[in-house]
Amino acid sequence: EPEVTQTPSHQVTQMGQEVILRCVPISNHLYFYWYRQILGQKVEFLVSFYNNEISEKSEIFDDQFSVERPDGSNFTLKIRSTKLEDSAMYFCASPLAAFNNEQFFGPGTRLTVL
């Protein structure tokens, strides 16, 4: 079965620090997404990425957030200056193709901001 991997599994950081969350999507996928899930809450869309640029972003995805695909395989989410409320699980996902509903999610990175 296809697999999306994410590193690290758990990241602890001090408020104001920068963090980079990494994802290795399924090879040959073209669309990539980041979602986050605050503990006990629903999964929320952050940003979609296609053809090396942002396709859509949510209100959560402010200037502190950025995404990159630096080397054609990794897909990163950077938070420049973390806030306490950024503490959440962050999931990377990719579907097989455009308009394909079966998005494969990674196992997530748990970000804890102290």
Binding site: Q41, V43, E44, S58, A93, N101, E102, F105
Partner: protein, 113 residues
């Protein structure tokens, strides 16, 4: 505004029984409705989807029903097993120019041995 919500936050079912998880949505423009399963410590896992022009779709031990009149979606799991214990989310997708998933709040299903 648009929203996808769930009626019940928790549900306990005896192993072997059938379970029904419900979801209400408010956005009539959605093209697909999807059920995801999330086990503890894992990412959401696709279960089944249904296009907005369908009423019912069946998979292996799962059936999704869509009632557009009352904007209601349900997931039926037959002959539940311990491995079915998880949080179940409904999600909506508008496939034209907007492929993001909009999730509901989730229902925790517990299968009692």
């Amino acid at each position: 505004g648009e929203s996808v919500g769930l009626h019940l936050p928790t549900l306990s079912v005896q192993e072997g029984d059938n379970s029904i998880i419900n979801c209400a949505y408010s956005n009539s423009a959605s093209d697909y409705f999807i059920w995801y399963k999330q086990e503890s410590g894992k990412g959401p896992q696709f279960i089944i989807d249904i296009r907005s022009n369908m009423d019912k779709r069946q998979g292996q031990r799962v059936t999704v029903l869509l009632n557009k009149t009352v904007k209601h979606l349900s997931l039926q799991i037959a002959a539940t097993q311990p491995g079915d214990s998880a949080v179940y989310f409904c999600a909506e997708l508008r496939s034209f120019g907007n492929e993001k998933l909009t999730f509901g709040t989730g229902t925790r299903l517990t299968i009692i041995p």
